[in-house]
């Protein structure tokens, strides 16, 4: 059984949004339908979701515009797009430019939708946990972490930041202590 999560379904066809929300509730998620993305954005900060399912073609604010504004508020929510006008260009954009997890064609393939949501919720949970672990890092430590995960040795990082290798060593120890991540692989996983 996949992890349950909070999911918002945004579609200007109310029946479809409600139907998809009910479907997701049956799969254990706390799902809510929204007819319009604007009210959702207004309340989103107080009630963030793990995954948002959005129609691409909507009235005033389309799915992509909505995704941009949503990402600005919450970089840790997964976005799944659905559309009745699928095009290759939109499919590529939805994944590459708007960080979508999937691009579903209507009529919706139910199994694929459920699988995408499960994946999205799991990803969002991981992401939030990682963000929480790196929260306490100082700006300097964050800089060091970003260079570390690119595979740079201490000396190079020291030269880059104008610090001594000893200081880098200290920052590194602090990062490990604060996040509990040990070794390069775990550090990389943190910044995913």
């Amino acid at each position: 059984m996949s992890q349950p999560g909070t999911v918002y379904v945004v579609d200007d066809d109310h029946d479809l949004a409600a139907s998809v929300a009910r479907l997701l509730r049956r799969h254990g998620h706390a799902a809510e339908p929204f007819l319009d993305p604007t009210p959702l954005l207004a309340i989103y900060e107080d009630a963030p979701a793990d995954c948002v399912v959005a129609d691409v073609m909507m009235g005033d604010l389309d799915g992509f515009g909505f995704a941009d504004r949503l990402r600005a508020i919450d970089p840790a929510t997964a976005i799944v797009f659905m559309t009745a006008w699928p095009t290759t260009a939109n499919a590529v954009d939805s994944i590459r430019r708007y960080g979508g997890l999937d691009y579903l064609e209507k009529p919706i393939d139910e199994d694929r939708l459920v699988a995408a949501i499960a994946e999205g919720v799991a990803w969002s949970h991981r992401r939030r946990a990682n963000i929480a672990r790196t929260m306490s890092l100082t700006p300097r430590e964050r800089e060091v972490l970003n260079l570390l995960v690119r595979g740079h040795p201490n000396k190079v990082i020291a030269a880059e930041l104008g610090l001594s290798p000893k200081t880098i060593e200290d920052h590194r120890a602090a990062i490990v202590a604060k996040t509990g991540a040990n070794g390069l692989a775990q550090l990389i996983a943190l910044t995913e």
């Binding site: 066809d13 479809l16 139907s19 479907l23 009745a84 095009t87 209507k106 009529p107 919706i108």
Partner: protein, 521 residues
């Protein structure tokens, strides 16, 4: 003349025989210092060259040379034999040059002025005798003795006679021969429509008035002036085209030629024949121009119809895409709810089985509808796709899904034998589906027994898809303009395959063959 139905070089003896007969006929209008004032053999030569193209020149020359040598018109003995042989070869070569040049230019400058058929034919037939005459100039000036004429005046006269004789021969004999060849080639379809009664009356009247004028001028002692007939024939050509003008030229020739055969004075004969050849050239060019004009108009009208059709298709496509969008929205809801209903009715005890069956049925139907909508959209929405491996069974399934509604509306059953599921071709799915859909739709419209058969099978490293239907009569009823078939053929050939049409008594099949994916480089 059955020579066009003969294949390979078998036409050559037939040409030689025809040439021999017409050559003999021409002697009736012969005279001293020239061969004939009416030379029908030139018409046969021109017709064959026009049909077979300039590359047949060598064969034509060979045939003529053989005939002249065998019948003893020229002797390959004497000291002058190269000159003799050249004089026989010259006209054929000249005609070959004229035909080759005109056909080359007409192909090179398609769409330009005077290149709409039958204008090139008209130009070539008027040009060929002149080219042949020009080729004879070196001999005339270098070896005047060889032309068997003495004075310069006679030389010029001889050249004029030669040209006039050939012109008359070409313009009177070649058109009916070419028409006959076209008719034979196109089977029973008549290449000539029945003339309109009004046109016949008008043409006859114009020609009669002109003839009366000629007679009147002659009667009051002003000599035989052919100009009125020239104008009349030009009029007929411009108004009614080549067929009508040829009849008018023939009528004129039938009046003039028998008389000139008896005339003794060369001057009088030449004058009449020059008049006649002027009438033939002007009339034939006018007729060709009128026909080319009609052809251009017909092409334009056809293009207009195609454009109109394309415009309608574009609108239809936009409409269908919109409809698909509108349907897919509620269908998504329906599919989700139907599946849920079917699920709970199965798991909850006490639900009547009828209710459960109903829910299952609704679920199945909405799922099928969703698949159909996705396929329709894929078919109509995208314009290009990359070649990818495509299962023939899946292709035929798609085609059947797309054509079924139309087939059902026409009460036609699609009998499908999809064959081996391993048959895979490298194809642009949308395009190839379009091609097969077009073939199946044509079959659905044409079938005589409410059945269309689609069979796919492996055949020596290729896949063969046969779309066949029963046929009532030999001629298939066609609505539409065959654009569908044209599109299908283009697509199939772009996929490295080919499309064949096999007609048997009572049935017709379109067979498309495509290379299998494993055999592709």
């Amino acid at each position: 003349m059955g020579i066009w139905t003969l294949r390979g070089a078998a036409w050559l003896p037939a040409y030689a025989l025809g040439f021999y007969i017409l050559f003999q006929v021409a002697a009736i209008w012969g005279g001293s210092g020239f061969y004939s004032l009416w030379y029908p053999a030139a018409g046969l030569r021109f017709a064959v060259l026009w049909r077979r193209g300039a590359r047949a020149t060598g064969w034509i020359v060979l045939a003529e040379l053989t005939v002249q040598l065998v019948t003893g018109v020229v002797a390959a003995a004497g000291a002058d034999w190269p000159q003799e042989v050249w004089s026989i070869m010259r006209p054929g070569i000249g005609y070959g040059i004229a035909v080759g040049a005109v056909q080359y230019l007409a192909n090179r400058t398609k769409g330009a002025r005077f290149t709409t058929p039958p204008m090139p034919l008209g130009l070539a037939s008027a040009l060929a005798p002149f080219v042949a005459m020009v080729l004879s100039l070196p001999t005339v000036f270098l070896r005047p003795d060889f032309t068997r004429v003495d004075s310069p005046a006679e030389v010029v006269g001889s050249l004029a006679v030669f040209t006039v004789g050939d012109l008359l021969g070409v313009l009177m004999i070649a058109p009916p021969l070419l028409w006959l060849a076209d008719t034979i080639e196109h089977g029973e379809r008549p290449a000539l429509t029945r003339p309109r009664f009004g046109a016949v009356i008008e043409g006859a009247a114009v020609l009669a008035i002109a003839s009366a004028l000629v007679w009147a001028l002659d009667y009051i002692g002003l000599g035989r002036q052919m100009t009125p007939v020239l104008l009349a024939v030009a009029w007929i050509g411009l108004r009614f085209g080549r067929a009508a003008v040829w009849c008018a030229i023939l009528a004129t020739a039938l009046v003039v030629l028998p008389r000139t055969a008896e005339l003794a004075a060369l001057g009088a004969t030449l004058s009449l024949h020059m008049g006649l050849s002027a009438i033939a050239v002007v009339g034939y060019l006018a007729g060709s121009f009128a026909d080319a004009d009609a052809q251009a108009r017909a092409d334009l009208a056809r293009r207009d119809r195609l454009l109109f059709q394309a415009e309608r298709l574009k609108t239809l496509r936009a409409m269908s895409v919109a409809v698909i969008h509108e349907i897919s929205q509620p269908l998504s809801t329906l599919a989700i709810e139907a599946r849920h209903l079917a699920g709970i009715s199965a798991s909850s005890p006490g639900v009547p089985s009828e209710l459960h069956d109903g829910a299952l049925l609704i679920e199945r139907k909405t799922a099928a509808l969703a698949t159909l909508v996705r396929r329709l959209r894929r078919f109509g929405g995208r314009a290009v796709d990359d070649p990818s491996p495509l299962q023939i069974a899946a292709l035929i399934d798609t085609v059947a899904t797309l054509v079924k509604p139309e087939a059902r509306a026409a009460s036609v059953k699609l009998v499908i034998v999809a064959g081996d599921p391993d048959l895979v071709v490298l194809a642009q799915e949308i395009e190839l589906s379009q091609a097969v859909v077009n073939l199946v739709r044509n079959a659905v419209r044409a079938t005589a027994n409410r059945e269309v058969e689609i069979v796919a099978e492996r055949l020596n490293g290729a896949v063969r898809i046969r779309v066949s239907n029963a046929l009532e009569s030999a001629s298939a009823p066609t609505d539409g303009m065959g654009v569908g078939l044209l599109v299908a053929r283009t697509i199939i050939e772009a996929h490295g395959g080919h499309l064949r049409r096999v007609e048997r008594p009572g049935s017709i099949a379109h067979i498309l063959t495509l290379p299998l994916a494993e055999d592709l480089p």
